[in-house]
Amino acid sequence: MVIPLDGLEYHPSGGPDDRHGGPAVVAKSAPLWVRVRKNHWTTRLIALAAFLVVWWILTTPWAWNGDKPIMLPLYLPSIPSVWNAFIRANTIHPIAEGVDREVVGEYGYYLWQHLLATLQRIGIGLFFAIVIGLPLGLLMASVKIISVSVEPYINFLRSLPPLGYIGLLIVWFGIDNTSKIWLLFLAAFPPITIATIAGVSGIKEDQIHAAQSLGASRLQVVSSVTVPAIAPDLITGIRVALGFAWTTVVAAELNNGIPGIGGLAYLSGTELKTPLTITCIIVIGITAIVLDSIIKAMERVLTPWRGKA
């Protein structure tokens, strides 16, 4: 519902205060400060512009500074050089200036191939995290002995920094993809298990009773009540798990991580290719935001009752 109000539009619900920065509609003619107040996207654009201006000021050669930028390119490369690194990483280009030999992207792969390799690992790791983490959570929620004996190990695992045990995983599973997927799996499954347990304990007892009184068997109670009832918590768990998996991606791809966006970020950093490192960081960050938005959208589509019942 949108009520016109003095050229602006008033939103009784959602709208301007929507924390997702939703589709707040503000009259184009409104002064900037009103738009900033009413529309998160305007605010975000201004913040981004301010950020880029500061970056530009820090990296542009200034006459008063002896024609040198305030920060040397090794520490903070200029915006155009990061852009160039992004282009180079996506094209076939000479290996170095004045050399005839041409190479593909970076380290033999285009940037999107690095990203895709990482997404595949995360996808597989997350898949197994759900396949193992969900039933484990259900078991732990319903069988006391399992919960009491397994819970400390999950908390133990959860507290470990992934860098601490990647070496061990490599010894166990080799330096190729398997150890990386294991790491991502180990990062992703505890949040899913914990969310499942929380979901089950949040089910109202009478919702189970109601199904039983309608003649549901044990299995029917699980499929008709338990699983849908924990769906909102489960999706939240998957969202957290995906976030964890992303933050461990560089650790996973530290060794033999090419192709892989995390490996590329790490390797380019060790070789002082700062523009490429920054390109990777930006791509990793934006991909994380996009993935998170996808899960949030799934949440709205799959569990529309969330928070309403």
Partner: protein
């Protein structure tokens, strides 16, 4: 009435809490509910009414004694005893019609038959236009009607209702009371209806029970205005009948004396 289809509460006592500091919720209770009765159980809150209902529903097991239906002991919830809860336990992940069909689905009834049944019961409770709405889009009164339709559709022998209209406004409450009475007259179901309202108990019941608190004990048990499902009098008439007023007064005083 043949006793074989009756619900028999036989020497049931109920305690809660750990052994050394246990609380008696229900003192020794004996009760026979005959088929077709509309039994209203009234009493102050916390007197053990709900405990008795949950025992009959099979959600908890009696500390002592046993409850039988048609001679066989109740050991858990079952589709022969439908429950209408105080706060609606509809499933928000299904639409209204699917909620109503759920019992039939559990019993393995075919989809077409389920649709037909749910349409019939939704019509009975006046929710036909809301069949494909989500349950959280319904008002409180509509949710209770949906819950009643869900229980009716699964065709239980007993309907156990735990203060189903307690949270509703007076007007909605009165309308639903009339609808429920109508449904009882049409279907002849056996109903155990729990309420803290004396008026509601005397108006609805074919038999009125009163429970005294701490520990719960049935202290009043009399037939009410209607003794059979077939009889039909308009709601306003019932409330002005001398018999109604007289019974209401006696139930009220029995509750007051039991404190």
């Amino acid at each position: 009435m043949s006793r074989d289809k009756s619900l028999v509460v036989d020497g049931v006592r109920q305690f809660f809490g750990p052994k050394n500091s246990r609380v008696q919720a229900l003192s020794r209770t004996d009760l026979v509910i005959e088929p077709g009765q509309f039994v209203c159980l009234a009493g102050p809150s916390g007197c053990g009414k709900t405990t008795l209902l949950r025992l009959i529903a099979g959600f908890i097991n009696p500390s002592e004694g046993q409850i039988t239906v048609s001679g066989s002991e109740i050991i858990g919830p079952g589709p022969d005893r439908g429950v209408v809860f105080q706060s609606p336990t509809l499933y928000p992940w299904m639409d209204v019609a699917s909620n109503v069909e759920l019992g039939l689905k559990f019993q393995g009834v075919s989809k077409d038959q389920r649709r037909a049944d749910s349409e019939r019961y939704l019509q009975m409770v006046g929710l036909t236009d809301f069949a494909h709405r989500r349950t959280y889009e319904l008002s409180g009164g509509m949710q209770q009607r949906c819950q009643i339709a869900r229980v009716l559709a699964s065709d239980p022998e007993f309907i156990l209702m735990d203060e189903p209209f307690g949270a509703l406004d007076a007007l909605t409450r009165e309308r639903l009371q009339n609808e429920l009475l109508d449904i009882w007259r049409k279907t002849g179901k056996t109903i155990l209806f729990i309420t803290h309202s004396v008026d509601e108990a005397v108006f609805l019941g074919s038999r009125v029970l009163v429970m005294s608190p701490r520990p719960g004990k049935i202290v009043f048990d009399e037939p009410a205005i209607f003794s059979k499902p077939g009889e039909s009098i308009a709601a306003e008439e019932i409330r002005s009948l001398p018999a109604f007023l007289e019974l209401r007064e006696r139930v009220r005083s029995s509750i007051q004396h039991s404190h």
